[in-house]
């Protein structure tokens, strides 16, 4: 049986390798050229990440609308992200309510009618602290774990194994997590809002002696139904961004255990920045 098209002489590999090296050898550049090249590489990396995440979103949508997301994995993720996060979200929400109420009570006492404290606590919790603090907690609890899990699967060739078996990791791993995030986070934020409001009311009662009826009367003074929609819209956006960034960074992981650590850190930073930037975009988009 004929073996290869042209059998090389021993040592021919070295010559070919040298030729390949020469072909790719960088030429020396001036300082401005190097800076420009560095900026170009950064922009290229940014676009690569953006493109990678856009691809994940597109393929998740395809699997979602064709009903091909594995239900068992989706249910697991809803349980783990949603049910598993309820205790920490309740603790965070109640602490936010207590602190807001105490600080507001300190500033209002002797200066303003204390009923307004109810309005301050309700607005702070529902418009800002409930969604953002819940998102920050979930970045640590859910986002970091997703990146580390998928990153470990990447470096231990489990993602390659999925591909080799003709299975798409986006279908089996990414889509269930993104859809679970979109469903779980608004529910968690609603829980955080309720708990925060109740804890704020209790704190107001114990610290400045503001009764329950007065607290809720104050809360209703500046209440708009739109506020709850605004709060849950933020939650929806955060519930989408956190698993999306986490999955993308997990699948992009390279470089063994050290790489898993590096990409997980990068994912946490990116998710936090993403949540805060989205948070800053919401008022001009939805409150004006």
């Amino acid at each position: 049986m004929q073996t290869s098209r042209e059998e090389p002489a021993p040592g021919a590999g070295t010559a070919v390798l040298e030729k390949a090296r020469q072909r790719r050898a960088p030429r020396p550049h001036s300082w401005p050229e190097r800076r420009l090249a560095s900026a170009g590489r950064s922009a290229e990396r940014l676009l690569e990440h953006a493109g990678g995440m856009a691809t994940l979103v597109w393929r998740t949508l395809v699997y979602l609308f064709t009903g091909r997301i594995p239900f068992r994995e989706f249910a697991n993720q809803v349980y783990w992200m949603g049910v598993g996060s309820i205790p920490i979200v309740m603790v965070t929400g109640s602490l936010a309510g207590v602190v807001t109420s105490q600080q507001g009570g300190y500033q209002f006492t002797g200066n303003m009618p204390l009923e307004y404290l109810g309005s301050v606590v309700a607005s702070s919790i529902i418009l800002e602290l409930g969604p953002v603090l819940t998102a920050v907690v979930l970045i640590g609890r859910v986002g970091a774990r997703i990146t580390a899990e998928l990153g470990t699967m990447r470096v231990s060739e489990q993602i390659d194994a999925l591909y080799s078996l003709g299975r798409d990791p986006v279908r089996t791993l990414v889509a269930p997590r993104i859809v679970a995030g979109i469903i779980s986070v608004p529910i968690l934020v609603a829980i955080a809002n309720l708990v925060g409001l109740y804890a704020g009311m209790m704190a107001a009662q114990f610290t400045v002696g503001l009764g329950r009826q007065s607290f809720f009367y104050g809360a209703s003074l500046f209440w708009h139904d739109w506020d709850m929609f605004y709060s849950l819209s933020k939650a929806l956006a955060f519930g989408f961004v956190i698993p999306l960034v986490a999955c993308h960074m997990g699948l992009a992981t390279r470089g063994g255990a050290e790489g898993v650590g590096r990409y997980t850190t990068a994912a946490v930073v990116t998710m936090t920045l993403g949540v805060l930037i989205l948070d800053a975009l919401f008022p001009p988009l939805l409150l004006n």
């Binding site: 049986m1 004929q2 073996t3 290869s4 098209r5 042209e6 059998e7 090389p8 021993p10 040592g11 021919a12 590999g13 070295t14 070919v16 390798l17 030729k19 390949a20 090296r21 790719r24 699967m153 231990s156 060739e157 489990q158 390659d160 194994a161 591909y163 080799s164 078996l165 003709g166 299975r167 798409d168």
Partner: protein
């Protein structure tokens, strides 16, 4: 070669340095080809290009008439279904039991078609082929298995779908000699009885030579030698001799 199953056509691949520098190799239908060479010479990269896990910078791989580089997503999935891949570290899914891991080798449609009992029978059959006792391992997680058992579960997962091509990345590394021989016999049996085309990346030249139709040696990203097992044994090439005799040649450049 008239009936080529896997055709590597002038493959180039670089990461931070060139890894494949013009690999040109054809593997016949039903043939068992071993790829040997020092660590870091691109053997695993070559294997991964076969099913598009790594895409070459230049050149193409044609598998059973299908170009890997120009395949659509659907074509690539269909191509991968024809191929079983045995990973160096088994690459079992940590969160799944042995049963679930091996069953992953079948598509969802195949699993539904087989039903519960049929699927169990196929998984048991695959595990028995690799000398594992199904009763003892089916419900275990990969973390509860030894390295050798994990490797054999990985092989069971690769063969359960009855692929036309099997790619082995260091199939006996980490196995004791008995189980290493079991795996080598299994590779030979799959080739002889089912006509499976096998490409084996290995350092275990002693165990692999008897079951190989041909041997290719990668050196510096290039095919340095390719020939039958007998030609490999009789070769005067110093690097081939060093491999066979486990001897370090005087010329250190050969090992750079």
């Amino acid at each position: 070669m008239n009936d080529v199953m896997v055709d590597y056509r002038d493959l180039y691949k670089s990461f931070d340095h060139p890894v494949l520098a013009g690999v040109d190799l054809a593997v016949g239908r039903g043939e068992t080809l071993s790829v040997v060479g020092h660590s870091g010479t691109g053997k695993s990269v070559l294997l991964k290009t076969t099913i598009g896990l790594i895409m070459p910078d230049e050149g193409d791989v044609v598998v059973d008439g299908q170009s890997v580089c120009s395949a659509t997503r659907q074509q690539m999935q269909a191509l991968r279904r024809k191929v079983g891949y045995v990973f160096q570290n088994a690459a079992l899914f940590d969160s799944m039991t042995v049963f679930e891991n091996v069953a992953q080798g079948l598509s969802d449609e195949e699993q539904r078609g087989l039903g519960g009992k049929g699927l169990m029978a196929r998984v048991v059959e695959a595990l028995e082929l690799v000398n594992l006792e199904p009763r003892k391992v089916l419900a275990k997680l990969p973390s509860q298995l030894s390295g050798g058992m994990r490797k054999r579960v990985g092989i069971a997962r690769a063969i359960i779908g009855r692929p036309q091509i099997l790619l082995y990345d260091e199939p006996v590394t980490g196995l004791d000699p008995v189980n290493g021989t079991v795996v080598h016999r299994l590779i030979a049996r799959l080739g002889a009885e089912l006509g499976v085309t096998s490409i084996i990346v290995t350092h275990d030249i002693e165990g692999t030579l008897p079951i190989s139709d041909r041997v290719a040696m990668l050196d510096h990203g290039f095919i340095r030698f390719v020939g039958t097992a007998d030609e490999f044994r009789d070769s005067d090439d110093p690097l081939v001799r060093a491999f066979l005799e486990r001897d370090v040649p005087d010329n250190d450049e050969l090992l750079v």
